[in-house]
Symmetry: C2
Subunit: 105 residues, 2 copies
């Protein structure tokens, strides 16, 4: 997949992958790989700053836990984040309708 196409859709992906479960950063990257059949392989330099940004925005909450000696920062959706996810899904539908409409017009 061409670079840059992700632009503007990263937040939606991160919120979606955290819908209904708690995951730490590394696991989020793996979950996205899994769900996209390997098409999405986001670098840590993309994901970690984004997660912190979403937490600052109040859409995610995090807590440290230690699993077999390793520190993990585990993220979950806040109520606001859940609403934001709904909004992102709606925007995605609108976006694909608009661009898709032009592409196959």
């Amino acid at each position: 997949m061409k670079a840059d196409t992700l632009r503007g859709h990263l937040d939606a992906l991160l919120l979606a992958v955290l819908d209904g479960r708690k995951l730490h950063g590394y696991a989020i990257i793996e979950a996205l790989q899994l769900r996209s059949d390997g098409a999405l392989d986001l670098p840590t330099g993309t994901v970690y700053p984004a997660l912190r940004r979403l937490e600052r925005a109040g859409w995610l909450a995090s807590e440290w836990d230690v699993v077999s000696g390793r520190k993990r920062r585990t993220y979950r959706l806040t109520r606001t984040g859940q609403q934001a996810l709904q909004a992102e899904r709606a925007e995605w539908r609108e976006f694909t309708a608009v661009i898709g409409g032009v592409l196959q017009a």
Copy 2:
């Protein structure tokens, strides 16, 4: 529609709107508005440089003509551009499948 979401899809839009017809820059902007029911209102500072870039890439060819005293640079798809459009359409389908898959997984 959120800014930046267009990123990486502009070329596809321009190629698609020129599929099967010749249009000048200003008319391209209007055609995109029309086809998107007003959702796409691209500024000239976005469209004109992109058209020149696509021409340099060999995907578009242009010629000047004068209509009622006004100069117009009219663009059309080259054969390479036609192929590029097919590729862009395929990439769009892949892109929406990947992101859409994650969003509603």
